[in-house]
Amino acid sequence: MNNDFKRVLNLAFTDFYRNRGTSIAAIFVLTVTTLIITGLFVIGGTSSFLVDRLKEKIDITAYFKDGTSDQDIMNVKDQILKNSPDIKNVEYVSKDDALNQFNERHQGNDVFARALLEVGGNPFLPSLNITTSGDQKEYQQISDILQSDQFSDLIQKVDFSEKKDTIEKVFSITSSITKFGVALGILLVLIAVAVVFNTIKLVIDNSKDEITTMRIVGASNWFLRAPFILQGAIFGAIAFMISFLLAFLFSYSLSVGISVVLPGFNLSYYFASHLWLIIPIQLLCSIGLGAGSSYFVVKKYLEI
């Protein structure tokens, strides 16, 4: 290892140890900041899961008139797929399929069986179940096609029209949640960064007189600045380890509780599958912020 680097490392660790009180304060602030930002990331993931689930519910079902030929229904399907290539799925459910699905769903339920006998024959209509990607534009395109004059003779009813208000409300709410979440996230991140910066500033301000002396005796910018930057990085590295461990423990301990509220969302799996993103975010928030703040705080003392 380079001699100068060893010296800088030694100076950084010595200062870290000798100023234990301020070091612990800085680590605490960096840990809280890193956890807040990790929390925001996880909340973002949870809300996008929730929004996706809501959007998945926005299916459109077009019921065709009794006696509409399979060929005509397939023609409508082709039109939809042609105009909205990103659509998730278009499933054709024939009269017989619909009856079978009903029977399967209500197997052993005498009330439904009797009701079906009462009606007589197969009362179900052939249909196309369209699963959109949740994009509002896509939804609009499909509804335009299904309501066009071209297919008015074939289609008995389109299910979306009954849920239209709800669907539009969901779009509006999810859009507002996203905007609010981003704004709140940015605000929290800015506050956290300001708190970290000022904590590091307090730590370094304690050494203000020493920095002046170091300049007077001829210390180069690098030699003077490097131990402080390294010290900031040490604060950050410790904060990273603590926050990662805490985030890991939280995600596993809260996973069961969250899956009760949000069925299908596994927090621990989400945490594990997003480690590639969570680790860089935490490193940036802890080591990046610690070292970066030190860099800028010391900079102002180098003008002597």
Partner: protein, 226 residues
């Protein structure tokens, strides 16, 4: 070695501290700069170190104008100057050993050299038994001797001592002056700023007297005559 050429220093609050000051200090000289408090002595030493820039005129160190050097070069010049302050300006979070070793590390000296030179210089100022102490654990005289050790360790071309005896009792004050005389005898240039009449009169060296920012006297074997 050090040259002031028509130097005037006016601070941003319009306080004029030095007015058209010119003098030259040659290599190996022992020069005392004498004046009352506020006469401009400290500003003068700050100008030599590049801690302040002259409002008018130029300050030269080894032929280089201090106004023209960049930050990196300024730091190189500062390494050629050993500074002793009245308030010591020690590194309070570092031990006696580390305070001196830091100066050598700044110059990029090897560890072996540092391990050899630091105890030697601390022994010369009588602090070898307090190497592991922190400055706060030393007396005023000891702290000033540590400042002297720090100023000496890199074998600088010039020693600037700004009121080095201001906080010391007469015994410690003469001890510090004695060290400066020894350094001067070894061929180093010493610039001593003080208002201690006894010390100046005993030294019998060149004295520059500053009054209200102007040089009123510059004599080879000067006396304190304010």
């Amino acid at each position: 070695m050090i040259k002031f050429e028509n130097v005037t220093k006016i601070y941003p609050d319009n306080t004029s501290v030095l007015q058209d000051v010119s003098f030259e200090i040659n290599e190996g000289e022992f020069v005392s700069i004498v004046g009352k408090s506020g006469a401009g002595k400290t500003t003068l030493t700050k100008l030599i170190l590049g801690l302040e820039k002259p409002t008018y005129g130029s300050v030269y160190f080894q032929g280089k104008s201090m106004s023209d050097v960049d930050s990196a070069e300024l730091q190189l010049i500062r390494r050629k100057v050993g500074v002793i302050y009245q308030d010591y300006k020690l590194l309070s979070s570092r031990t006696v050993f580390e305070n001196v070793a830091y100066i050598m590390a700044v110059e990029g000296k090897e560890n072996d050299e540092i391990m050899l030179a630091v105890p030697r210089v601390l022994e010369a100022v009588g602090l070898h038994e307090k190497m592991d102490n922190f400055p706060r654990e030393l007396s005023g005289g000891e702290q000033q001797r540590l400042a002297v050790a720090r100023a000496l360790v890199n074998n600088p071309d010039v020693i600037i001592a700004d009121e080095p005896t201001g906080n010391l009792d007469p015994y410690n004050a003469y001890e510090v002056i004695g060290l400066l005389e020894k350094i001067n005898k070894a061929g180093k240039t010493v610039v001593l700023s003080t208002h201690d009449r006894g010390i100046i009169n005993k030294l019998g060296k060149r004295v520059i007297i500053i009054e209200n920012g102007k040089i009123t006297s510059d004599e080879e074997k000067g006396k304190f005559i304010i």
